[in-house]
Symmetry: C2
Subunit: 417 residues, 2 copies
């Protein structure tokens, strides 16, 4: 094998599609099922078809660009991620995984190389969850986690439904959304964290995804006048929320280095300069690769919060609104990625993904893994999200090397090699 | 003198007007220059005119219901407050001061009593500042603090202007807004704090208003992914804001019992469950009756905040966006209130107002004081705001007693008694 990806072409495609929904600060605003999403889908479809691939679309808009192999009865090798972004997202989160897949199609096509199994490059609908909640709706439905009708009924903040918007942009396909047999699923992604960059490592071998739990907490005090209510008389819900923020941080630090804990949302009522807040709503996000540790973090946090808020005469209610168990990727596929990195002379380390990904759901129904590349300053979900040309090239090269080696291992059933 | 207010009539008027903009929880939503404001103004105008008073309206909608005295060249005795409320306000904040004035007009009218000086009951426009910022716009303009055109140009959150809304409800008068000579200005108000109730005192002799300063603070960290950013790598702006909330509380407690300090507004960006907040905006409200102590509080707070935020790699900018120096009411008028309370056998104590009031501005251009009555649990700016019938009656009785005694002291110039 002497196939090589063309890193300039990959980079050029990333920059070209980044203009679809491109923002002034160099990021992308390309929410799922918007006009911008339609434009990038059209671009992707046309690019794949020009390489002789067939693009099929399922009921939830998931796109599968198929390049036939020697034995088309073999389950396909899937490569993919998502083309939607956060409201002020970057140019690489998700897009890299799809366009690196496209680059592999280009490379195979240019070389006239025939794989044993068919190769399919996938664009999963609505990974970010920024428009239709929750995240990873369509890969989740593919894996049987969500019901099709549940997904179609999701509404955005303006009350527009997934169903109507999917039809509006012309991407409501006819193929039922359900898991088909897949030989292996590979998702290349930026790390979205600082570890690889800090350690100067080229490739992350993603062995799993952290367990994640989301909570909603409403803290209640007494709304009263900021001028005429003495300090000793106050029941300030925002003071309680401040203590919650500190306790959430403490529980993450205590269970470090693998634990992370975040208060991302805080809504203060009535949110007026001269009124002591009577009610504060917050969200808490706890993650750890071990569900048993997550149980422990949850217990410690809400125990400490009860004590702290009791002490300042506040009450609160909390609810776990979402959770995703820890995911363990296919160790066999991990090993293919390790060897590919080694063959290419790239440094590597095992890593756990702190973020959710389509691959986490797909791992429930097919052998799956991910490949991480560093990103600048660990920043993502941000218009400043960045990685170097070399990092990008290294990731795509490892993806190609992995896919080819994995494909070699698949036995054609009906065709003599 | 044997005049007595009719506490049932006062209470009935409070309950009747509370239906104008009344909320399900028993409060009032009557924002300045809305349809509800027009309705309560119409009601007040009609009530005063039925007692033979002339209601004049200035360019900013301030209403002056005048009952002539023996000597109409004497500057009037003014009694008043405001009829607008917070978005979820109570039935007494402001309204009590106007309707107690109306009750005095009723009492004088029923008795055919002729005061030396004319008596004017005033409704100041937009005291709350909840619709058009800042608060006390129209009494401020009367006192020369704000320019007329500045007030007229203020816009609400929907972009509607004070000028247009004032015309729309038909309360744009022709009288120039400017201080006229006033013999004395009296404002009866609920305490909006817990002190009188906690000490079981009937009447607060308000000797002044706390100095107040408002600040806006923007704390900047780095927005990043909640799952893949290790705890040690975070620059969490919300953690900084939480520390600010605690430092603000500490500075108030340290300078107690007279100091109060509040974070009332917190806006978190991007406010998404799985994104570490990159930017948080907060407001800080500091109050103390001594401006020198306020200087000290300001220095201590922002010094401590700089140290705390530096330590967690956050930056911030702060600005003092508004301040109101400490106000000292007329000691001569205070003495009239003390004697009135004593004559009526009511308990009293001197008190400093923690809240701003129209009277604070009017005190710049006329002898002014306020009378406080307790309110339940110290709660105001809240639909649960309440006081007892007896507390309400006591306050209005002291107001009448004070006004009559003060009026006695005024020398008619042109008329033989």
């Amino acid at each position: 094998m002497n196939l090589k990806i063309n890193p300039e072409r990959l980079w050029a495609n990333l920059m070209e599609t980044a203009l679809i929904g491109g923002t002034q600060k160099g990021g992308i605003r390309r929410l799922s099922l918007t006009d911008e999403d339609k434009r990038v889908r059209d671009w992707f479809k046309q690019a794949c078809e020009s390489l002789g691939c067939t693009v099929s679309i399922d009921e939830l808009g998931n796109m599968f660009a198929r390049r036939p192999g020697r034995d088309n009865t073999l389950p396909p090798i899937c490569i993919g991620s998502h083309l939607d972004t956060q409201p002020t997202g970057g140019k690489f989160d998700g897009v890299l995984g799809v366009l690196a897949g496209l680059e592999i199609l280009h490379t195979l096509h240019a070389a006239g190389y025939e794989t044993n199994a068919p190769v399919e490059v996938v664009n999963w609908t609505n990974e970010e969850g920024a428009r239709f909640s929750p995240a990873m709706l369509a890969s989740g439905a593919f894996a049987g986690v969500f019901d099709r009708d549940f997904v179609l009924s999701r509404k955005d903040r303006d009350g527009l439904s997934f169903h109507d918007e999917l039809r509006r942009i012309g991407y409501a396909g006819s193929i039922p959304v359900q898991a088909r047999s897949i030989s292996g699923m590979f998702e290349l992604h930026i790390e979205q964290g600082p570890v690889l960059e800090a350690e100067n490592i080229d490739i992350g071998i993603v062995t799993g995804v952290q367990g994640m739990r989301w909570y909603e907490i409403a803290i209640t005090g007494v709304e009263s006048h900021a001028g005429s209510t003495p300090m000793w008389f106050r029941k300030d819900a925002l003071l309680g929320a401040a203590k919650a923020v500190e306790l959430v941080r403490e529980v993450g630090v205590r269970h470090g280095p693998l634990a992370v804990s975040t208060v991302g949302v805080m809504d203060v009522r009535p949110n007026s300069p001269n009124v002591i807040p009577g009610e504060v709503f917050i969200t808490i996000d706890l993650r750890h690769p071990d569900d048993a540790v997550l149980n422990c973090m949850e217990r410690e946090l809400f125990g400490a919060l009860t004590t702290a808020l009791d002490a300042i005469s506040l009450t609160f209610v909390w609810e776990r609104v979402w959770h995703s168990p820890a995911v363990h990727f296919d160790s066999h596929l991990n090993e293919y990625v390790r060897r590919a990195a080694d063959r290419l002379g790239l440094s590597r380390r095992d890593i756990i993904s702190g973020a959710g990904h389509d691959a986490a759901y797909i791992s429930r129904v097919a052998p799956t893994t991910m490949i991480f590349v560093p990103c600048r300053d660990g920043i993502s979900h941000n218009e400043l999200e960045d990685l170097t040309f070399e990092q990008c090239a290294a990731g795509a090269a490892v993806l190609l090397e992995t896919v080819l080696a994995f494909d070699e291992s698949l036995e054609p059933l009906q065709v003599e090699r």
